[in-house]
């Protein structure tokens, strides 16, 4: 499928698949040291004893990887001009060192802006690991330019 460019090029139900991204232990440690220095992200022994049952990436880093995949493969090719937020995010499975992640994007809803030449493209982002488990889902409205019609 051609990559959508303007708001009008998106349609409800469209699906896109992007990836992969392999997350190394070094990257998990680097992110956690800077932004989320909790034992379940930095210390294998403490992580094993925690609710997560082993070393896992910060949820915010996992969010960044989904964002990166969507930016590289979809938003930077379209006339996307940012996001206003996230309606919901659920972390369903821990992301472990060496996990290979891929992103599926589904278009849920299209709402033209009442006054400006943009529209809201509500997307569901589902991030899968190499075992085809959904690790994280996000619903987010992305703002896209409307085409010159």
């Amino acid at each position: 499928m051609d990559c959508p460019k303007y708001f009008e090029d998106f349609s409800v139900g469209q699906k896109f698949a992007f990836g992969h991204y392999e997350l190394t232990k070094q990257e998990i440690f680097a992110f956690a040291r800077e932004f989320d220095p909790q034992p379940h992200h930095l210390d294998e022994h403490a992580a094993g004893a925690s609710m997560l049952g082993g070393l896992s990436a910060s949820g915010w880093q996992v969010g960044g990887i989904a964002m990166r995949l969507c930016a590289e493969h979809l938003l930077n090719k379209a006339k996307a001009v940012g996001g206003a937020g996230v309606e919901e995010c659920r972390w369903l499975k821990p992301v472990r060192p060496g996990d290979i992640l891929r992103l599926e994007v589904e278009i849920l809803e299209l709402t033209p802006h009442p006054r400006r030449l943009v529209g809201f493209v509500k997307m569901l982002w589902s991030l899968f690991n190499q075992r085809e488990q959904t690790t994280r889902i996000v619903t987010t409205p992305i703002i896209a330019m409307r085409g010159a019609t």
């Binding site: 997560l52 990166r68 930077n76 001009v81 995010c89």
Partner: protein, 152 residues
């Protein structure tokens, strides 16, 4: 949000400290986690609707996490584990530009016991980043698992 539970009541608010965003760190974060032109390319950003580089919204939230951990809100020995099943209603209300200083906070909204995990609560928290004049720049509703203090 301490282990003795006295701070774990609804309405308890904690100031987490502040952070000033530099252009270099905005670009460094976004190159790795949000490589859109208005976050990483000063010239493209100048031509965009934002008129210049702005921080990734994920960066402004990551700094909330950093300050929450540094302030002792979560972590070893604390009631709140820092492990979360997700969040809701994350709003990026105003672009964050190089040189801006944001003041972060967290406030307990409610908590409920977890039938699936005896001895644990799910605590709902309202988190914000504000400018010095009080303008809210980012907010979200977080959820965190917390171990109930002994005897409660």
């Amino acid at each position: 949000m301490s282990a003795n539970g006295k701070d774990m009541q609804a309405g308890a608010r904690r100031e987490l400290g502040s952070h000033t965003f530099t252009k270099d760190e905005i670009i460094r974060f976004a190159r790795k986690y949000d490589p859109q032109p208005f976050h990483i390319d000063p010239e493209a950003a100048a031509q965009s609707a934002f008129g210049g580089i702005i921080a990734s919204g994920w960066h402004t939230v990551a700094i909330w996490m950093k300050l929450a951990v540094a302030s002792g809100a979560f972590g070893p020995g604390e009631g709140a584990s820092g492990i979360s099943p997700g969040f809701e209603d994350l709003r990026w209300l105003k672009p964050v530009r190089p040189g801006m200083t944001l003041h972060y906070s967290t406030e307990i909204v409610s908590k409920r016991s977890l039938a699936s995990r005896p001895g644990w609560d799910l605590v709902t928290i309202h988190n914000e980043a504000r400018e010095a004049d009080g303008t809210v720049v980012m907010s979200f509703i977080g959820k965190v698992f917390a171990k109930r203090p002994e005897g409660q």
